[in-house]
């Protein structure tokens, strides 16, 4: 028997995500003019004819008459007009479309870039929102806009397409229709003026629309569609669990450096991986010198990694000095089969490391399929291939240090000159160079070396006090000195960099663990919010907010740091936060969504839900956060999310417990009303009616007995009602202790007096220390608590046995102990008896009552900082209930 094949969980998950989502159909064409919009409109007309609610979200007819005609009879949504540099531009009104909620919407030009000020940078992001709202979408796309084909298109046509969209958008489309037109046909249409009009047509004919270009693009479009169809087939097989061995998940790895060329490398890798249908990872190895890269370079790395994510890859940063070794090690750990690495002609000899990566990987002989992608250096890249050492900022203090050290070495040298030779004097200067390297870095060290060499020459070689050299060995000594000094300077500088990198990592780790420690102790959501806001502000030195409620109408951060309480968020900021919350993705400043916002919002999300947002006010800095900052931010947001979820879960568990107690309470009340209220009422009514109707026939004793019943049962009823009242008020937290200085003996006496009927026939001594201090308590609450305990003792011990009340004092507490001579409380029940509705079951009977008495007792004591517990009796049988109140020193009473 074979186990039934199961659909892959990933596939099912994707299906589940699609539930409730609109379907996307893309009309894919090789170039403008092939008739995508036309076909889309025809499809819309057909849908409308079959009764589907169709709305044209946005369609560009480019003045084409045939296309225009097809718009007839379709509802066209008014465009949202935005003012951009004095021109009014019409954009898709996403909100209006979602509010209108048709079954099917038409949205032209997926890759279109929105006018600045729109919610999203790109139209395809609007389409995502529309789909998420459950609206089906028909859209058009030209193949050259696909991110992964961007470079290919550049190479074919020489035109860099600026408007791109991630391949994943097309991959997620439910249906793709290839709108195909042979190049000859297209060129004819162009000549007929059906594509572009007038002068525009002429320019197009000369540039983009060459026959060669069109043929190549057509091939690309067909291939994109075909790959898509392959994937659909694969998806189908997975969904329907077509039996086939599920291959171990292979991966492709691409090495990312800090250069712009890496963008095309990423696109290449994405395409390779997609063609092979495997997952891929973009890996960036960060070494100790990384922090010295110029900010643009850091930004570019972050951007490249984000591009990888946008193209459907996984972006990973690993620390390490040996790039090749790190890449290979990581590749082995992730089941990677293919490694893609860029290779470019070195710009300078100084860039040795980078040049050797491809070689190093190839030389390693590791069992990977290594693909070296040749890359061009364009002008933009050249600026970034400088030796990172050169970009170290010039700080004159560093050089002063070096010079001071050289001066010191010279002074010492002049002093010891007569005893030691030039070679040993050079060692003195080497110390100065080394110290300067370690303290100030390689560049000041080199400067120091040169100055040191000059000093040696000037002060210590013949002829003295000139820079001239007479002896050949002096020339040699100085030359060797200079070489050694410069090398040492560089080595020392590297040592320093490594130390700094280590320190930085240590700081980051300390930062995270410090945050984890602080947040672990937080008790409420607000506290977590406060801690994270404080922490992020302290770490990144930026104004920051923590939001823990979905900013649907207004943005109300639970905590803010670095901005005043009257800071006004703009609508864009709120919209960015809202979008971030709903889509679990960063939004706002420096992102693709609502970049005009002054804030960057990062979601604090767990696997299940978004629990909050972290907002950073980046506007003033006018620079997106660096990759390192983003990672730290993400790590902090993750930890905060876990902490938030923890407090939310514990609050929810608390609520559930309260709710289930409420359920129990209701059930117990029902049984109480039927039993504990009715029983005394029945006795009272019976006795009273008997007296009313049989009065003459009753003896004096009978009458007296009946009357006793009425009184006793009324008192019982009264106590019961009192308990119900106390319980309700305790439940609502409404009991407020009115504390005053009390004599516990008075309170014990009153409690005993109130229960005199229940205690009749028993000996109930109150034993107290002679010098019992006054208690700071609420006399009525304490009396009621004691009544409940004594009443309980009376219920659970045989009639006639004594109940002993002992009052005493310890260093910290005042004690009230009630001991009976009944069966006692089993050890297992000693804690439970204070739970609501708990009643100790004995074999022969269950004592009457609701099981509320001791629970109320605990509540009444807690209201005045007291406690109650059950103890094992020191000797013999019986139960001991001990109540205790904190002992306080009463104010002095002045004697008269």
């Amino acid at each position: 028997m074979t186990a039934p094949a199961r659909p892959s969980p990933d596939t099912l998950l994707l299906e589940a995500q699609r539930e409730g989502r609109g379907r996307l159909k893309v009309f894919l064409g090789a170039s403008p003019g092939v008739g995508k919009t036309y076909d889309m409109l025809r499809a819309a007309q057909a849908a409308k004819a079959s009764g589907v609610d169709v709305v044209v979200g946005i369609v560009e007819t480019h003045g084409r008459r045939e296309t225009q005609a097809l718009l007839d009879g379709l509802e066209v949504l008014p465009r949202r007009t935005l003012d951009y540099r004095g021109r009014a531009l019409g954009e898709l009104d996403t909100d209006a479309l979602i509010a209108r909620k048709p079954k099917l919407a038409l949205i032209d030009e997926l890759a279109h870039s929105n006018v600045p000020g729109s919610r999203h940078v790109k139209r395809w992001q609007d389409v995502e929102d529309v789909l998420a709202a459950g609206i089906d979408v028909l859209a058009t796309l030209n193949v050259q806009h696909l991110e992964s084909l961007n470079d290919v298109v550049l190479r074919i046509t020489g035109v860099r397409v600026r408007e791109t969209l991630p391949d994943t958008v097309l991959e997620r489309a439910d249906e793709i229709e290839l709108v195909d037109l042979p190049p000859e046909e297209l060129l004819r249409r162009l000549d007929e003026g059906k594509v572009y009009l007038g002068e525009q047509a002429q320019r197009a004919r000369e540039g983009f629309f060459s026959r060669g270009n069109l043929t190549a693009l057509r091939e690309l479009a067909m291939r994109a569609a075909a790959e898509r169809i392959d994937q659909q087939m694969l998806a189908y097989r997975q969904r329907h669990a077509v039996s086939e061995p599920w291959p171990a998940r292979e991966r492709l790895l691409v090495c990312v450096g800090g250069k712009a060329i890496d963008r095309s490398l990423i696109r290449n890798a994405a395409r390779l991986a997609d063609t092979r249908g495997i997952a891929w990872i973009a890996v960036h190895v960060i070494d100790s010198r990384a922090h010295r890269l110029p900010n643009e370079a850091k930004d570019r790395i972050a951007e490249t990694l984000r591009l990888a994510e946008a193209l459907g890859g996984e972006a990973v940063t690993i620390p390490g000095e040996n790039v090749a070794a790190e890449v290979l090690g990581y590749a082995r750990s992730r089941n990677v089969t293919q490694i893609v690495v860029g290779h470019s002609k070195p710009m300078r000899a100084g860039w040795r490391r980078r040049r050797s990566l491809a070689h190093a990987l190839l030389r390693s002989g590791a069992p990977f399929d290594i693909t070296v992608v040749p890359t061009r250096n364009d002008a933009r890249d050249a600026s970034n291939t400088r030796d990172p050492i050169a970009v170290e900022r010039w700080r004159w203090q560093d050089h002063i240090t070096g010079l001071a050290l050289v001066t010191l070495a010279t002074l010492v040298g002049l002093f010891v000159d007569r005893w030691i030779g030039l070679e040993n004097l050079a060692l003195l200067y080497l110390v100065a160079v080394l110290v300067s390297a370690v303290r100030a870095g390689p560049l000041p060290a080199i400067v120091t070396s040169i100055v040191a060499a000059c000093s040696l020459d000037f002060f210590f070689t013949e002829p003295r006090y000139t820079l001239n050299l007479q002896r050949h060995e002096d020339v040699l000594t100085l030359a060797v000195f200079l070489i050694v000094a410069v090398l040492m300077g560089r080595l020392g500088g590297q040592l320093r960099s490594q130390m700094q990198a280590l320190r930085k990592t240590a700081r980051r780790n300390a930062n995270l663990s410090d945050f984890a420690r602080r947040v672990a102790g937080a008790l409420g959501r607000d506290e977590v919010a406060r801690i994270i806001a404080e922490h992020v502000q302290a770490t990144l030195d930026l104004p920051c907010v923590a939001v823990i409620e979905r900013p649907a109408e207004a943005l109300r951060p639970a905590a803010r740091r670095g901005i005043g309480p009257d800071y006004q968020f703009r609508e864009t900021d709120r919209a960015a936060a809202h979008w971030c919350w709903d889509h679990r993705q960063p939004a706002g400043y420096s992102t693709q969504t609502l970049p005009t916002s002054q804030w960057l919002f990062v979601p604090m999300a767990t696997a299940q839900r978004v629990v909050g947002l972290l907002g950073l006010h980046l506007h003033e800095r006018r620079r997106p956060p660096s990759a390192g900052q983003r990672r730290l931010l993400d790590a902090l947001a993750d930890q905060a999310a876990v902490a938030l979820e923890r407090v939310m879960l514990s609050a929810e568990i608390g609520d559930q417990r309260v709710n289930s107690q409420g359920e129990e309470l209701r059930a117990a009340l029902l049984s109480s009303v039927s039993h504990d209220l009715r029983t005394p009422l029945a006795s009272i009514l019976g006795a009273a009616t008997s007296l009313q109707t049989q009065n003459e026939r009753l003896s004096a004793d009978d009458r007296s007995a009946l009357l006793d019943t009425v009184v006793e049962e009324s008192e019982r009823l009264n106590r019961f009602v009192q308990n119900l009242l106390d319980m309700t008020r305790l439940g609502y937290g409404r009991i407020e202790a009115r504390r005053e200085w009390c004599d516990l003996r008075e309170i014990a006496g009153r409690a005993r007096n109130r229960l005199r009927r229940e205690l009749s026939g028993r000996d109930v001594p109150i034993d107290s220390a002679g010098d019992l201090p006054l208690a700071w308590c609420d006399p009525l609450l304490l009396e009621q608590a004691l009544v409940n305990v004594i009443d309980n003792a009376a219920k659970y011990s045989p009639a006639g046995t004594p109940i002993e009340i002992a009052l005493g004092a310890q260093a910290q507490w005042l004690l009230l102990r009630v001991r009976d001579h009944g069966p006692g409380v089993p050890a297992a029940d000693r804690e439970k008896i204070f739970d609501m509705f708990h009643r100790v079951q004995s074999q022969d009977h269950t004592a009457p009552g609701t099981g509320l008495g001791l629970a109320i007792c605990r509540g009444l004591l807690a209201a005045q900082d007291g406690q109650v517990r059950a103890l094992a009796p020191a000797e013999g049988r019986g139960a001991v209930i001990e109540m205790r109140l904190p002992r306080k020193t009463p104010p002095q009473v002045r004697d008269d």
Binding site: S714, E740, D743, R752, L774, L780, P890, P891, V893
Partner: protein, 229 residues
């Protein structure tokens, strides 16, 4: 005493009024009933009762507001009826001019004791009773002598002052602030620990057990009372 004692009952509960009419009637007291504050005030002016039983929860007025209005026109002893757990209300009512209070539900014996105490106070107010006796305790307010079983007790000044205040209102509750004001002065109105200490000493000299006092009884949260037979 030939003259019938008239008791005005102001309570909106017909059952309570009926109960009092029957049980007080059995003690030869004449009961005048009023169901709300206005009727109560009218009956007070017209019938000149000897004692008034006032429920604090009336439909047309808060009993606490009513007490000062009653005091404007009459010095009739007022016994307030209230529910448990409203000690603050009791103290305010007593401070506003009520003479005593009784907690619902109550036994009729307790009510009768309160009425007797109130009436006795009326007589005392006219200065006719300088000596108070309860059990073995005898307090002579003119000679400032206290004896127990005929043996004179040596009380400190404050102890005597406390006992004297309780004795002058024998059988009725005296609120803690009232007692503190009269014995120590207004600044000590809240220093209840003074009372605990001195009442403790006093009980000790009277041979009283705090857990079961025979003479000085605690009304928790409210005050003290000299118990009368």
């Amino acid at each position: 005493m030939t003259e019938t004692i008239r008791v005005l009952v102001v309570d909106d509960e017909p059952q309570i009024r009926k109960l009092l009419r029957v049980s007080l009637g059995a003690e030869s007291l004449q009961v005048i009933e009023a169901a709300n504050a206005e009727a109560g005030l009218a009956a007070l002016k017209q019938d000149k009762p000897d004692v008034m039983i006032l429920d604090l929860g009336l439909p047309d007025a808060d009993g606490l507001d009513l007490i000062p209005r009653i005091r404007e026109i009459s010095s009739v002893p007022i016994i307030v009826l209230s529910v448990r757990d409203d000690e603050g209300g009791k103290v305010r009512a007593l401070d506003a001019g009520a003479d005593d209070y009784l907690t619902k539900p109550f036994g009729i014996a307790e009510l009768l004791a309160r009425i007797r105490a109130a009436l006795r106070h009326r007589l005392q107010a006219s200065g006719s009773q300088p000596v108070i006796e309860t059990g073995a305790l005898r307090i002579d307010l003119t000679l400032r002598r206290v004896t127990l079983d005929g043996i004179e007790l040596r009380l400190s000044r404050k102890e005597y002052a406390i006992l004297a205040v309780l004795a002058r209102h024998a059988g009725r509750v005296i609120t803690q602030p009232q007692l503190l004001r009269e014995v120590w002065g207004k600044v000590h109105e809240d220093d209840t620990q003074y009372l605990r200490v001195y009442i403790g000493q006093l009980r000790h000299k009277l041979g009283d057990d705090a857990a079961a006092p025979r003479y000085v009884v605690t009304e928790p949260g409210v005050g003290y009372r000299l118990k009368m037979p």
